[in-house]
Amino acid sequence: MRPLRALRWVAWTAFAAGILVAVVAVLTALPAYAQDAAQEPAYRAFPVIGSRLAVWAVAQLHLNFAAFILGVPIFAVIIEIIGWRTRDARYDWLSHELVKLTFAAFSTTALLGALLLFLFVGYYPKFWTYMTSIFFPTYWIYALLFFAETFTVYLWYYGWDWLSGSKKWIHVGLGVLSNLLGTSILVVANSWVTFMMSPAGITESGALKGSVWGAINNFTWMPINIHRLIANIVFGGTIAAAYAAFRFLNATTDEERARYDWMGYVGNFVALSAFIVLPFAGYWLGREIYAFNQTMGITMMGGFMSWLWIIQAILIGILFLGSNYYLWLGMERIPGSERYRKYVPYMLTILAIGFMVWATPHSLIVTLDEARAMGGTHHPFLGFFGVMSAKNTAVNLMILTTFLSYVLYRRANRLSIKPWVLTGMAIQWGAFFVAAAIVVFYGVYGYFVESIVRIGFSVYQVGAVLGAIALVMTIDVPMFRGARSTGAIRWGRIPARSQYVLILLAVTFTWLMGLMGFARSGIRQYWHVYGVMRDTSVDAVTPALGYAANVITIVTAVFFALVMFIFWLGGLSERGKAGAHGLPAPAISGGSEDDR
């Protein structure tokens, strides 16, 4: 048997075993539910590290993988459609490459999911029994969706050559379908998690009141659906970009470098576009948490988690700086981009100041002397930066700046030939300044109104930014249609440090996801299901931030180790037969042109 075939068999078998294990585990949980609960202990202890840590680590890993295999196909299919409509082979190649990555991670995801279920059933039997009593009907939906998803993705991947040419539309349809199925899986799983945070549809004693829909459609379900969907795209983009960076750094030929440079760029572009809207989705989620339970909201924002948001701000600041830096470095490969270099210091200054404002803590760490000098625990000047008004303003300005970077990048090698170009550009700059002015105005005005009004201001700020983005793009696209080029992009001619930035972004984002997961879970404090089912296990304390950070770091490292291994496996099939299998890799301008 060829090694590839053998691998595929291993993957298949592992995958089937995973599904089987999952089904068996669910079924074994059922009799337990029927029996007298007293016969089962409420908890069992996981050896050495304890049950909580075991569940935490596996859940985070599972989520990382799941996010990847749900996020990547979303833009893979979009890229495939672009390739299909424009008949540009490199898009089709890229899409195939992306699905290949997804595919490689598929069985690991399923296995981790089964393992997680095992841990719940085995170590938290009472909790799991309770969840089953509410959500049992959804288990079947979940399993069915999973089967459907698996087979669609298999067809999508293996049918690439078969369903090409005139049958391409069927193939694209498969891609779309697998995304619909994937998203549905996400949405079902989210109903369980969000129910634990913000239970709904149940009686005082915790029993289901009406149909299971009441429990599914709880306060945080929709916001989490949206938030996770967008975050998955960002995550998928960064991981795909990191993969490309890895291949770039290992590349031996110019063609390969050009190809993976381009792939890294697209991955980062996808991540960045989705990332820009992520704060808004997060904001909505925060509001819903407040609306569900004020105490929970305050615990989250002002209580023991307030420092978590500073860490979050630092991570997001790094993401902003990193993605802009990557764009600026990317201008190196574009002839004609030199004229935009002069903007970099200004954009960098805005980003840096925004970063500082955002990372200013509300609860400062101060020594006694410092507190005396400040006349309180609040600094009379820095205190202004510690509150939401300042932070929203900073973030919105950072988003605008990042968008500006992108706009400049876009036009780096193009000179518009439209007669109205001056007017167009004037309007674009105007849009930037008006949006910035609105953001700053409401930011400052926010200090003079009561907080309930202030909260509403963030909507205007967001609206101004999104409006500016929309307006600028509507002008930009026609303005540069048929533009004169100052030279083709020399893919592959980018300093190696840019590729390390891509890897850094992927690691940072993964870490950030771990942190936010901790926040989401941690605000339940000593509850399994908030306000309904208490956590009476030995682990019923919310761990300190430092401890959480260590766990998240270890799990992130394990995740990347696994991903590297899986990607390496995936790469095995290409060894020694470049272009022989699957789609031939297209040449990309910048690499040597001789295989065209």
């Binding site: 105490t295 002002g302 700086l321 600026w328 960098l348 006694l368 205190g383």
Partner: protein, 250 residues
């Protein structure tokens, strides 16, 4: 002139300038913990600035490389070989040496309030509750004045006659008394939150506010329910702040 063209010199100058501004430009001085965060950001930004394109990177690395390898720079190299370890050693010393000062600490200033509290044997809801005295607009003045009296009799020693936390006792207390003029205190809290804090004081703080070294007394045995609501009204009235309202669930 050409000296300032060098990216290396620029980078050093920016970092130095940023430090001076942050350390001495902010009055009263910003806590070290914050300066550290800020300087990290500045440092990152400067690194990005010098490496954002190939020319600039070359200009930045040039002097470093020549200092490390050029024979003509032997003296500088030797000087650095002595000065850098000494600086590092000094830094290590400042970190390790014991100081009489208590270490900087982090406590949650505004922990989550309980859903309800026991006040003199009666259960009072905190979550979602508005100040009951506000319903009667006509006697607003009366209540605020009575609250002012309560404040002067009980709170002024710590929270100060300007409500800015600079009372007579304040210099002795850590954490210092809350500054009600600050937008980061009562302006972002609901009145019921204040009710809880005033009734239960420092001793009533939850776990996340460890260490429980707040000197804020628990007033439940000395003030009546009405007096507490009155003094709250006074706090907002006198500072011109608006209390945060509870958001309504939709």
């Amino acid at each position: 002139m050409s000296l300032f063209r060098s990216r290396f010199v620029q980078a050093v100058l920016i970092v130095a300038l940023a430090f001076v501004v942050l350390r001495f430009g902010i009055r009263p001085p910003a806590p070290w913990s914050v300066i550290k965060i800020y300087m990290t950001v500045v440092f990152l930004a400067v690194l990005i600035y010098v490496s954002a394109d190939a020319d600039s990177w070359r200009s930045f690395v040039g002097p470093i490389r020549s200092t490390l390898v050029d024979p003509s720079r032997r003296l500088v190299r030797a000087a650095l070989a002595i000065v850098l370890p000494i600086l590092l050693g000094y830094y290590a010393y400042t970190q390790a040496a014991a100081t009489p000062e208590a270490p900087a600490e982090l406590r949650a200033v505004h922990p989550a309030p309980p859903g309800s509290i026991q006040f003199r044997g009666k259960e009072i809801n905190i979550s979602g509750v508005e100040n009951p005295l506000r319903r009667d607009q006509a006697s607003f003045k009366k209540h605020a004045a009575a609250g002012g009296e309560t404040y002067i009799k009980n709170c002024v020693y710590c929270h100060g006659d300007n409500l800015d936390g600079h009372g007579q006792f304040a210099p002795a207390l850590s954490p210092p008394p809350a500054d009600f003029q600050d937008p980061g205190t009562i302006a972002m809290l609901q009145e019921a939150y204040l009710f809880w804090r005033i009734a239960k004081g420092g001793p009533g703080l939850p776990r996340e506010s460890t260490p429980w070294n707040s000197a804020m007394p628990a007033w439940e045995d000395r003030l009546t329910e009405e007096q507490i609501w009155q003094v709250i009204m006074y706090l907002y009235d006198a500072t011109g702040q608006q209390p945060r309202r509870w958001e309504t669930a939709h």
